[in-house]
Symmetry: C2
Subunit: 378 residues, 2 copies
């Protein structure tokens, strides 16, 4: 009878109305029926990505779509700046190196956000930088980057800006066209409330031009092939049909709520989470915390992995420990996609119990009072 | 109230017990619970692939897994022979060229199977061929290749043999280890009775050695990364969790039926389909027809696309027209995965009506009598 609660930054919970749609009878993908669903999904994606440009669908995880941008926008030897302040920034660096790009690594201490001034001087220092690879929300540290300023800086230097918004999209503000982001990557299993298995890339005119000249080896993860099919409301390869059916359903609720409302609602949930953690005497890990998840330092002398394990084992609540060097030092609570205010209340009600059982002391219920105040008003 | 019937060679129907599993609550992929499901899936895949070697899972369509073998087993400039007797053989050629391999094209007329003697002389003619890329069942023509003989010939010449079994696996006999096939590729949406979105690659010791030296650019579709994670019952990137849950369910029924029984059952369905088509005065397209689907020539003066359209529009039955040059000349009826004897009976009962409406003449019910005789005995 133990219920399970998914509070991890991906996969995140899939609502029942989406799960139901996944179990419908399968349809052939070269039919008017499926084409209509795909068209709805394309329109919904444009809305959620805040762009008038095509958003291409790949049947892969988010990393597959990141790879598609590297291999389809650049050529071996092209100079790119990879901004790495966590595990997913490092992935940009690894991907760019895998395709023999000439990578300038802009490394940031985990938990910090990149300084646009530093990007500016790097761009002045290195001639002919073709692209800047960066992140909206760095999932490993719970940090949101100032994409608006980074995009502006890159654009001034004539470099493409490519943003990994796999975990941030839907919660952290990203008006793609307004901020002039050339390509935005996302995945299905976070803000978009689907199981993992689909990934997305928006491509503006600059990105579409870059594609025509790119020389990296590619086939399945090819933006150009995907764009050519997109124009015909089709996909170049058999798509993950059931997930696309679910996508249409998930996008509809996001369109109904409106992005502006979502950004405010999730930022409020994030603010409440931060305040609740601090009320427990805990420190935040990020200097520029995201609206999608909150990274919290474990108390001195307690391993975050013990907190995570106990919450999951005793109460069925899954949150995430850290990654890399901070694996045992931080824990991460997601507020993204289908996760709501009551889920945070439920999580902290038992996080308090677990922290106390591991020897951390604080006033009983103090985090819940904070959450109530921020989330529901006085 | 019109019911729909999917008789296409992929996507093919997904049974209700698999569809139900797709709608379960999502679980995190780095948990013991998911790891156990993955282990079951790994064991089931080994059984279905008839191998003791690892079968790696990719979240992609079948083409993604084909690409993984090209980019992970070979290096730019490596000489490979690509056997192309249809659309999917051509895909091998395209993939190998996309990765700058030195491709020797062994082209075959559509509808025919490759002659192993011709492969032998090509291997004698070209020095240092690193690999032979071929197909079990060429879906575009309904032809099954003599993989046993092709593998023997390749092995003698010291070349790796890589087989696309996307549509054939589960129906057309393929004892991978016994025949010495180095890598077998398949996908989820055909014999394996799942929606599209997962793909698989078996890798024997030769393939595992080749991976270590391969120099093509790759990241997401990387056999080596997948193999390293496989050893830990894990995946290198977030997998399509719901599809893996469904995979476990689908594999269990295949294990219960046993592969030997399946090969006989589907070959019987294929033989019945061929006999039924011939009884209607129609000609088969393939000289070596597959157990997975049957390609039938449309009668003189009737376009196959009209047959396909009328069946779908009037009766909800989806079969497939041809591809490429034979688009309007052939139609293809699948007998794979969850499709059974009664589905064939249902299809031919209305195919007769449609053919008659388009002006083709034959004795009423003649194909049904053939099917009954072959499928159910006299």
């Amino acid at each position: 009878m133990k219920r399970k609660y998914l509070m991890t930054p991906g996969p995140s919970p899939v609502p029942a109305f989406v799960r139901e749609s996944l179990s419908r009878e399968i349809m052939h993908h070269r039919t008017d029926e499926f084409r209509e669903i795909l068209q709805h999904a394309h329109e919904g994606l444009k809305y959620v990505f805040c762009t008038k440009n095509p958003v291409l669908i790949f049947s892969s995880s988010g990393t597959g779509a990141m790879e598609a941008t590297v291999s389809s926008l650049f050529s071996p030897g092209d100079k790119v700046i990879s901004i790495a302040g966590g595990k997913f920034g490092q992935r940009w660096t690894e991907l760019a190196k895998a395709y023999q790009l000439d990578v300038v690594e802009m490394t940031i201490d985990w938990g910090n956000a990149p300084d646009p001034e530093r990007l500016k001087s790097l761009l002045e220092q290195h001639a002919a930088v073709k692209g800047v690879l960066t992140t909206l929300c760095e999932t490993s540290t719970g940090t949101v980057y100032d994409v608006e300023a980074l995009a502006k800086t890159a654009r001034k230097a004539g470099a493409l800006i490519v943003v990994d918004a796999v975990s941030g999209l839907g919660q952290d503000k990203l008006p793609t066209d307004e901020w002039g982001v050339d390509a935005v990557v996302s995945g299905s299993q976070k803000g978009l409330m689907l199981p993992p298995g689909l990934a997305f890339v928006s491509v503006n005119a600059n990105a579409q031009t870059a594609m025509k000249n790119a020389q990296c080896s590619r086939y399945y993860l090819n933006l150009q092939k995907a764009l050519a099919s997109y124009a015909k409301s089709d996909t170049p390869f058999t798509p993950a049909v059931s997930l696309v059916v679910g996508l249409k359903e998930a996008l509809r609720t996001m369109q109904e709520e409106r992005m502006e409302s979502r950004w405010v609602r999730f930022e409020t949930m994030a603010a409440a989470t931060r305040k609740a953690a601090q009320a427990l005497g805990l420190k935040l890990f990020s200097s520029r915390p995201s609206a999608s998840l909150t990274a919290i330092r474990a108390p001195e002398g307690i391993k975050s992995t013990d907190i995570v394990r106990t919450l999951r084992k005793n109460y069925g609540i899954s949150i995430a420990a850290g990654q890399g060097d901070v694996k045992e030092k931080i824990f991460r609570i997601a507020h993204m996609g289908w996760i709501n205010e009551q889920d945070l209340m439920m999580t902290f009600s038992l996080l308090e119990k677990v922290l106390r059982s591991l020897g951390h002391t604080f006033e009983n219920g103090v985090s819940l009072a904070c959450l109530q105040e921020v989330l529901y008003g006085k």
